[in-house]
Chain length 291, copies 4
């Protein structure tokens, strides 16, 4: 887009007249050129949301990083003066991502291949697993693999090791790629950054284990997958993306599982891409996705 990159801000706060004009005016007055600006209003909640992306005016040479940092800080202060919270990012900076896996490898391969193909503006820098199974696979992609066993008895200490690793590797996003452990509220709070999870979804929904068996027993005609931000309530965080695929009585449980894998890959990858492009704004228990 621009060799200097762009700034992307995700804003939200109480709705009030003139917000669009003020934000655009502020950027324009400082020589910035807005490339994209999407707004949304949740009228029931009275909240204003905006994603705005612009090319900042910066000295062509010299202290660019410092100038960028200052521009971002100033914009945040300006947003605060309007009563809004702003997350602001520089498009040229690639966030550092960790992928958590267990034994299933389909989502992991999919993410790693897309990362290699340049589909994600991010750096995949760590693979964490409660099982050793995917160590070789991670290595084949040149990714450091960390085996941190998680037992019911020692879950707290395992999560402490995970948190230490995330901090040490300066991780900014965790993607749960069929990681089969529930993350504790303490872990989520301790990490303090987004965690994206993928899980199957059915119409109607099924509680308990072996969901594809249950779906098959119930004779559902659609199976689905949902990508969402992890919250203390595991499968109930803000939804980022969902999709379904059609099944018939001709599909047995193995088919459902296989088709579910394809869905999970696709839905998770799309959610991760949108997140990394700063298109997802979570609030309360829902999201605005500026696609």
């Amino acid at each position: 887009m621009n060799e200097l990159g762009t700034l992307v801000a995700l804003l939200h706060g109480p709705d009030q007249p003139g917000l669009v004009a003020r934000v655009a005016g502020w950027i324009f007055a400082r020589g910035g050129n807005i490339l994209h600006a999407d707004q949304h209003r949740d009228r029931e909640a009275g909240i204003f949301f905006q994603r705005v992306e612009w090319v900042p005016a910066l000295a062509k040479t010299g202290k660019r990083p410092a100038a960028l940092k200052r521009a971002m800080k100033e914009f945040s202060a300006f947003a605060a003066s309007l009563g809004m919270r702003a997350a602001i990012a520089h498009s040229a900076r690639r966030p550092r991502v960790a992928v958590f896996v267990s034994k299933a490898d389909h989502c992991f391969h999919d993410l790693a291949l897309r990362w290699q193909a340049g589909e994600f503006p991010a750096e995949l820098v760590a693979v964490v697993s409660n099982h050793p199974d995917l160590a070789e696979v991670a290595k084949s992609y040149g990714l450091p693999f960390q085996h941190i066993p998680v037992s019911a008895a020692a879950k707290t200490s395992a999560e402490k090791r995970q948190l230490a690793l995330l901090r040490k590797r300066r991780i900014e996003l965790v993607v749960l790629a069929r990681y089969m452990q529930v993350l504790s509220p303490d872990f989520l709070t301790g990490f303090g950054r987004p965690v994206i999870n993928i899980h199957h979804s059915f119409l109607p929904a099924f509680a308990g284990g072996r969901p594809y068996h249950q779906a098959h027993a119930r004779g559902v005609k659609l199976i689905g997958a949902t990508a969402h931000y992890a919250t203390a309530d595991l499968d109930e965080g803000p939804i980022i993306h969902q999709d379904v695929t059609r099944v018939t009585h001709r599909h047995d449980v193995d088919d459902l599982v296989r088709m579910g894998r394809d869905l999970e890959k696709r839905v998770l990858a799309q959610a991760v891409r949108w997140h990394l492009e700063h298109r997802v704004l979570a609030y309360g228990n829902k999201t605005v996705v500026f696609d």
Copy 2:
């Protein structure tokens, strides 16, 4: 297909070797010509399912109806001798259908127009409602409309009136086209024939009223509809068809309701068509749809 029409049998029973050959052989030995024959096995349950459609050999002139009746009776006896239950229908006979409505008219218009366009091999012969609102609309399609108010206090007597009407009009299928009353187990048993219902479906599911408001509040990215046979447990009967449509934060509750209407029309019409073409075989709490 054939001026004499075809016979369609839906069979199911304990699986055993040779069922396909025996059924085909029986028909062939009596001069019938099989047009379609679809099988399915539920291996876990050990059940064999078949839809077989054939042109029976009948005298070109004379007592066709009697001969047809006899052929159907003989086939049923044959199926029973294999340990299978058979539902057998003559394609040229158009079942008599009643539509139950309340105030919403979208599914009713859709069914009536498709019926007029010849999409359903059936006769729409009665419209029953707990509200008088759609009387004029029914009339515009030339359909008899019966207003049977349903109050909490007098639900039993209302259902008796409904049953009497269904019997008098020799109804063979009831379609609930956004009929906003739960049918009692007594009604369903008393009618003793299939009832198809349509309801919205969400990922995740929502209990309680105003589901589109709940879905909007939850920020779902898909809304769905499910057509199913009504059972004592209202929204939980065997699923015939399901579909979804994509929604975003840009859609407000009114949009969801409007998009839900379109889904409901489409899913209900497809389920009704499949049922009328003798393609749906319900067993336990699920269906086999021979599409």
Copy 3:
């Protein structure tokens, strides 16, 4: 949204820095409150597109219509000063729509029922047909029906009668609901306002007549429909909306035709709604749809 309604502008012109800020600033300076503002840039063509919707500041009483008219005129002049063309509409004003039909009634029923259900912010005020078949149907919706026969020999004079009718009834949009005549360039120029058409689409495409027969002969697995603005090149105008549905070898030509009808209804209705909500901006041979 607002008892006074909103103003919606569709703008486009050569891209230049500051457009978002200038438009928002202009509205804000006059006391307007922006509800929605979507932008798009076609980088290859260097064109900027915007849909902006706002509540204008108007005197609470008195000469509102005049004030609205003046606001719209001033905004257009302002857009012109930025080198942009603006189409600006008042949301409370319902455009007058004519539907052209031939013999097929499915799209017409669908449009009329949606209009009755309040799904379109417009007035359906005329039905024009080259055949008398749908006269009764139009009447059942309370719509004036005009039969204007079109013969190869007298096409020019027929189109003159059509144009005269459109002018007399002050029509602002023509929807071709399976109208089986090609409109001449002279007609399109003479009308000078948008015409939306629906046609089937296939992968691969088929030239010539009986397209569903060709699609069946070719064994396609998807059939589609495309809604577009009519231009001199009939099926090649700017595309507004497209959708497909899956077919198999089990579907015969009649099934394809029936499924095609459903697609056509759905795709045309969506395109018409987007147009009437001022969400579609056509340029060159393509569209930007601000959904």
Copy 4:
């Protein structure tokens, strides 16, 4: 299913009464148990199609391979006696597959990973490319890679080398995974076995190069992919599977290309699976897919 595996026959020939009964009877009389039997009639062409899968009665010990071979031969002779051509396969035998690639790796990774995951009942035994780029990738999956450069001048000799390789490695299916060369009629005849290709599809279709650029310029709202058997007329062989994905003006050409990759992977993998499960029967320029 069965440790002995099943036999799967794909039959087609002139329609005549009694085919279903005769085929089922033949199998039953020899102690076989039919697991699946799907039929289809192309009424216009008067052709009968069947896929029938059964467990043959074989001696529990001893000369199974010979007995199987004999059973297959006898069935083929029986089918011929009914005027039908039969392709018959033993489910336990895994066909040998070669993948042809050029530089793009997305379809190749997808096929290789699915093969590793056990999704294909086949052996991937050769990777052939006109470029050396994917040699390392093939190696990482443990697959032999053969670089056979193809120049316009020496295309004939290159195809001879390819054919020699296919023969030597006893290849039974070639999958063109974004192989960017047209195969000559001589090659296709020389190989004499199925070749599956994947290509993008658009509504409307575009001729010439850079199709995603053309699709973007035309403002299409859907992009598609089609998997088909390769014939002398490259993109026009019998269609096995098709799918589309929705695009908007917000997607640039790079997005279309990326989304096209996902489509291509998915559609090709499904077509290959169906083929390997003996579900696809090609005739004339179309297919019957017994899914």
